[in-house]
Every structure is written in C-alpha cells, then in structure tokens.
Amino acid sequence: MTKIKYASLMSLLAVSAILIYVVEDMPSFGDPDNPANKHVIPRYINNSETEGGAPNIVTAILANYRGYDTLGETTVIFTAGIAVMILFMRWNNG
C-alpha cells in the first residue's frame, strides 16, 4: 500500500514539475499580440456592427458568425425539454 502511495506521489511531483516548467512558455496574459487575439478577433471587433448586424459583439458572434452553433444549442435545449416531458409522462402512466 505504501509503495503505491509513494509511486503516485512521485508521478504527481514529476507531472507537476513538467507543467510548472511549461508555464514559462505560455503567452503572457492579456497581450494583444497573443495568437488567440490575432486570428479572427480583429475582424469581429472591426466589422461586427457593419456586417454582423449588431453593435453588441457577443450577439453578432453568437447569432451571425456562429449561427450554426447557436441553432444547435437551441436544438439541444428543445431536445432536453421534450425528453424530460416524454420520460415523466411514461413514468406517470405506467
């Protein structure tokens, strides 16, 4: 038992050391030159009011740029409601 605990502690320390070492290479927080901020973000910020149709950038992304995604989300909620309704109807009848 103690051997297993010792082994798990060692592996935990090893993985932690690797992760802490890797943190050095991550892009600094909030930097505008980060890769995540240079790909599609400038287009959203510049064009969401003219081509996105809404001054609110979040709404423009949600309803226009990512319209398929939001349609899928709405379908998930619809399916959840209908599924609960069908399940509980079965329970009460049977």
Binding site: N56, L62, A63, N64, T74, G81, V84, M85, N92
Partner: protein, 151 residues
C-alpha cells in the same frame, strides 16, 4: 413548496407585484440583446424564472392551471421552427443557410441582418422559456409526488 400556496402573505404579495416586472425585464433583455448584454438565452431564462417563482409561491396546481402543456409544446417547437425557418427562407431567396442579408426585405442589407438577428433571438427565447417551465413543473411534480395526469 407544494401543491398549495405558501402561508406567507408577504411572499404572495411581493411576488404578485414582482412577476409582471420580471417578465417585462425578460422581454427587454431579449429584444435589447443586440445593443446591450443579453439575448435569447438570458431573456428566456428570466421569463421562465417568473413562472418558477409563481409555482413556488402559489403552488404547483395553480401553476399547472396557468400554463397548459399543449401551449408549451407549441412554443418550444415554435422557437426552433422560427430559427431554422429564417435560415430556410435565406436559402430560398438565393443565399446560403442562415446568410441573413439575402432576405428580400425592403430595407438595406444591414437592417435586414439586424431584423433577422432579432427574429432568431425571439426564437431562442421562446424555446428556452418553455424548456425552463417544462423542466420545473415536471421535476417539481415528481419531487412532491403530485399526479401529472391532469396537466
């Protein structure tokens, strides 16, 4: 919470005053989601929450009388139908699916996109509101052991 309404006069009075304002705020969050934080999901949940407050304070049997199952099924389907119908109308009028500016409305492309986004948000709001009410009524009915055959 139970079948009957709560004893507290304060809770009943305050929620009777507050529920219309909660619903008004929910509609505001849906239709104003283009310019301020909010949108269909948030406004729909606020609208559904007003019904949950009604069910908690006035009892489940009164809440079941207030909303009918048939109307909720129609509303929850209508939301998805509005959303996918707008996409289909875009496709029928020559654009891609959900390409909002291809609708042949007598306004410019920017205005057409804004109106389509408003319609889409309304559809999301209807679906989320009905799903919230359905989940609450069925789960609460199961919790307190109320029969659901009469709803």
């Amino acid at each position: 919470m139970g079948e009957k309404e709560v004893e507290s006069l304060v809770a009943r009075t305050i929620s009777r005053i507050m529920i219309p304002f909660i619903q008004l705020f929910g509609i505001y969050v849906i239709v104003h989601g283009e310019t301020s934080p909010g949108g269909g999901f948030q406004g729909g949940v606020i609208l559904g929450t007003s019904m949950i407050l009604y069910g908690i304070v006035y009892g489940l049997s009164k809440a079941k009388k207030r909303v009918s199952k048939k109307h909720l099924i129609i509303l929850i389907s209508l939301g998805v139908l509005i959303y996918s119908g707008i996409g289909l109308m875009d496709m029928l009028s020559g654009g891609k699916y959900l390409q909002y500016d291809s609708l042949p409305l007598p306004v410019d492309a920017h205005e057409t996109t804004a109106l389509s986004i408003l319609g889409v948000e309304l559809g999301i709001g209807l679906t989320v509101m009905s799903a919230t009410i359905i989940l609450f009524i069925y789960l609460a009915g199961e919790r307190i052991g109320a029969g659901m055959d009469n709803w």
